[in-house]
């Protein structure tokens, strides 16, 4: 896979100048008390540093996977641009982190997810800088970790590659919103019923809306994977995506 400079710059441009539009998912600017804002920043930063290392290592070992890393980023961009109506009568959007996580592991996506979130907050006033640590933790750290373990677990159980990808992307998407609900409930416990009452309230808003979208995200991730399986088998093998049984 030859990867010329202009392709890389095209992708970087896409990252630098394209904002990300989010309707429903992120904690709004200024809506976390300062101590919580700082807490989530502190939790998230080590993951981002490890993620940068992880990406560098992957690219050094398998330079031919650069294009696919670009694809993972582009996929997250497009998916988070799709504001989709949901059964609750409100809109939300998928996260798009599942694809990159299955291919490059959860740490790499912590970086790509953070970049997406940063531009959302800077250019579209969605999410926020003070809440970026918390939003990174839910969408770019926990979401991908769920994706990763569901995917590996499904493979161990002998489920087919497509089913494993679907389940992983779907549950990672849902998990992101559950974490967001937990974060808000921790910061805003109800006077009556405390944390649980608040969690139920926030989960009702975020997680319920997300159910059909999570299914959509799972399906879209499978579609892209089907393509990669057909045309990029050697890269997928280099990234050790297949289980021992499938990689004959």
């Amino acid at each position: 896979m030859k990867f010329s400079g202009w392709k890389l710059s095209y992708f970087l441009l896409a990252f630098l100048f394209v904002p990300n539009r989010a309707f429903a998912m992120h904690i709004m600017e200024g809506f976390l008390p300062i101590e919580w804002a700082i807490f989530w920043w502190v939790v998230s930063i080590p993951f981002i540093i490890l993620g940068l290392r992880s990406i560098r290592k992957t690219i050094d070992e398998n330079p031919e996977t650069k294009m696919i890393l670009g694809l993972s980023g582009a996929f997250a961009f497009v998916l988070s641009a799709l504001k989709i109506p949901s059964v609750t009568g409100s809109c939300s959007h998928p996260t798009g982190v599942g694809l990159g996580t299955v291919l490059f592991g959860p740490l790499a996506m912590s970086v790509i997810g953070t970049i997406v979130l940063l531009f959302q907050s800077l250019l579209l006033a969605h999410g926020g800088l003070t809440t970026l640590g918390a939003n990174t933790f839910s969408m770019a750290i926990v979401g991908p970790i769920i994706v990763y373990y569901v995917f590996k677990g499904s493979q161990k159980m002998g489920l087919s590659f497509s089913v494993a990808v679907f389940l992983a992307a779907m549950l990672g998407d849902l998990g992101t919103y559950v974490v967001t609900s937990v974060q808000l409930a921790l910061a805003f416990p109800s006077e009556v019923g405390g944390f649980m009452a608040s969690f139920t309230k926030f989960a009702g808003i975020f997680a319920l809306t997300q159910v059909p979208l999570a299914v959509s995200e799972g399906i879209l991730t499978v579609i892209v994977m089907n393509f990669l399986k057909k045309y990029n088998v050697s890269e997928l093998k280099a990234l050790r995506v297949f289980s021992a049984k499938e990689a004959h």
Binding site: Y10, L13, A14, V18, P19, N20, R21, A22, F23, A24, M25, H26, I27, E29, G30, F31, P33, I34, M67, G70, L71, A74, F75, F77, V78, A81, L82, K83, I84, P85, S86, V87, G89, S90, C91, S92, S121, L122, L124, A125, H126, L129, L184, F188, P189, S190, E191, K201, F202, I205, F206, P212, S216, I219, V222, I223, N226, F227, K230, Y231
Partner: protein, 90 residues
């Protein structure tokens, strides 16, 4: 290919069905609802930080947003074309 089209059709249906189930709903973003929930739980809470920049209008917002989807989709289309082209030669 057929399988992918079928999967895509399911995605489209999942997006269209809510419009019919929830006739007359606002279809606002869920983060706005969360904001309302926060003021219910803690009426005294004041956001302590404002966004540095907001798109001046809904039109500007949709411009940035369309641009994002276009560039992302452009890269994906380029990638697919490139891989199919290589595949044919090989």
């Amino acid at each position: 290919m057929k399988k992918n089209l079928l999967l895509l059709a399911i995605v489209v249906l999942l997006a269209i069905i809510p419009l019919f189930i929830q006739k007359g709903a606002e279809f606002e973003g869920a983060d706005g609802e969360a904001e309302a929930a926060i003021s219910e739980i803690n009426a005294d809470y004041e956001p302590w930080f404002e966004s540095l920049w907001e798109p001046p209008s809904g039109e500007i917002e949709s411009l940035l947003f369309a641009l994002q989807a276009a560039i992302g989709a452009g890269f994906i289309g380029y990638f697919i074309g490139l891989m199919r082209g290589k595949h044919k030669e090989g």
